[in-house]
């Protein structure tokens, strides 16, 4: 006669005492959303530079920066001539617009470095406060982006991020990004540098991405694999701000494109600009943000007023804060070795 062991009784007890617990809905989606945000910076611009997006009509809105008309030096549509035309001072600019135009001018005058690989030294921070606990992950890393393939490699300082993160099983110190993880230089250079055309392009991209996301959500719902997640419809301005700030923290933008992005932001209602701010490492910065409905993720980006380069980007949502701080951006023709080895 088989004997009932105490181990079996304990097993039965543990099963019975937890049998009424079911996983909270939305946990998988929360993890995916957080993962998407963390990948934002390396996310491929899915339709950047594709014919569909580039073909969108220009001039959907009256742009404060003008599209070349009156006082401009013409040539805004040229293939990135050295001097972006100065905006016509016909319209009285708000302080926010002035600050953004100032960033635009600073960005336009920066040299474009050469070299196949972009090397960014950065620090990523995630602070999450859940019900009763809060976790933070802080780690220096160095991202290498191959501007030809869009692939690359990220070196992480495990000695720091491992302990702070609370120890996943030995996080890999080197992560390889497959080709297409970042937009290639060719894709970025194919984007229009006229502000109105760029705005239209960003909007078209955003709508296409939203449609794709909607479609896969519908499929999941049909397969009963997803909990319905309420998504508020975003306005065109919401979408443009999201896309433009996404693009700003791509390191390998041409001076003309970066300059045009600030003009797009200057034309987007609701954008807030704070001059004389500081990034979290204390560097002088111009802070760009935008009002978001409560519960939505808000984006803040800190720009170097002297060069128009992005110093820091931060995402804030209820209970969570993600930030990337950029220390330096350099260009090389060979993939550098792991700086954290040894």
């Amino acid at each position: 006669m088989p004997e009932v062991l105490d181990e079996d009784i304990l097993r039965e007890l543990m099963v019975r005492c937890t049998s009424d617990l079911s996983a909270p809905p939305g946990a998988a989606q929360a993890a995916i959303r957080r993962q998407r945000r963390r990948r934002l910076r390396t996310r491929a611009l899915t339709v950047a530079g594709t014919a569909a997006a580039a073909g969108i009509a220009v001039g959907t809105m009256a742009s404060a920066s003008g599209t070349g008309g009156t006082g401009g030096a013409g040539g805004a549509g040229g293939s990135g001539g050295a001097g972006t035309p100065a905006h016509g001072p016909a319209i009285r600019l708000t302080a926010a617009q002035q600050a953004l135009f100032s960033l635009s001018s600073a960005a336009a005058t920066q040299p474009r470095p050469s070299g196949r690989y972009v090397v960014q030294a950065e620090k990523a921070t995630t602070i999450e406060s859940g019900s009763g606990s809060s976790t933070s992950e802080i780690g220096p890393k160095t991202s290498v982006i191959d501007t030809v393939t869009g692939g690359g490699v990220t070196y992480q300082d495990i000695s720091v991020s491992g302990s702070g993160a609370g120890g996943t099983p030995t996080p890999p110190g080197v992560l390889n990004a497959p080709a297409g993880s970042s937009p290639t230089r060719a894709q970025l250079d194919a984007l229009p540098t006229d502000p109105s055309a760029l705005r239209a392009n960003l909007l078209a991209q955003a709508k296409q991405q939203a449609a794709q996301a909607q479609q896969s959500m519908e499929q999941l719902k049909k397969a009963k694999k997803a909990y319905p997640v309420a998504t508020d419809p975003l306005s065109d301005d919401d979408l443009v701000f999201e896309q433009a700030t996404d693009l700003l923290w791509e390191p390998d933008l041409s001076p003309q494109l970066r300059s045009a992005l600030y003009k797009v932001l200057a034309d987007t209602p609701g954008v807030t600009v704070q001059t004389g701010a500081k990034d979290s490492s204390g560097r002088p910065a111009t802070e760009i943000s935008r009002y978001q409905a409560p519960g939505q993720t808000s984006v803040e980006t800190f720009e170097d007023p002297a060069t128009g380069a992005t110093l820091e980007s931060a995402w804030r949502s209820p209970g969570e804060f993600d930030e990337d701080l950029y220390y330096s951006t350099t260009y090389t023709n060979t993939i550098p070795a792991d700086p954290y080895q040894g």
Partner: protein
Amino acid sequence: MDRKQERAFEKFVAESGDDLLRLATLLMSDRGLGEDLYQETLHRLAARWSRVDSPRAYCRQVMHNIVIDQLRVRRRQVPEIRLADAYDNTDPRADDPASAAELRPALLAALRTLTPQQRTIVVLRYFDDRSENDVAEVLGVSPGTVKSTASRAMAHLRVQPGLSGLFAMTGTGSMTRRVRYA
């Protein structure tokens, strides 16, 4: 994660979420902390999804690591007042709400009297049905240690007042027969 991977991740969570939450609750011996552990484990799994061979094994390992890490942190903190049992409001729609509601606080309290290693070992060994070798691998100890620790933990649980009368063999005979101190 691309969309396909996101779908696979959601499928995995839909299939295994309840189990993982239960495992987390037992490992923390606390419902609220168990939910936190569950959510944090999913975050880490999502971050590594494309490089994980066995999501279940990965979750097990991550949960153990987090438990150990939190212990390190907690040791440096002032002991907190436990609100766990107050938080424990059982879903009345469950199959057998009375027994789960009555037993859970007692079982969790008894599990909390174990050392973290003992607790992890009995939960993985008996609730998650892992072999001694599997558990040994997760904890980074020898299979012999798993065996002896599990025995000690069982002996300890047998004499917990909250669980008295539940075990079949509380007599010394069974103790000497099955509890071998390594």
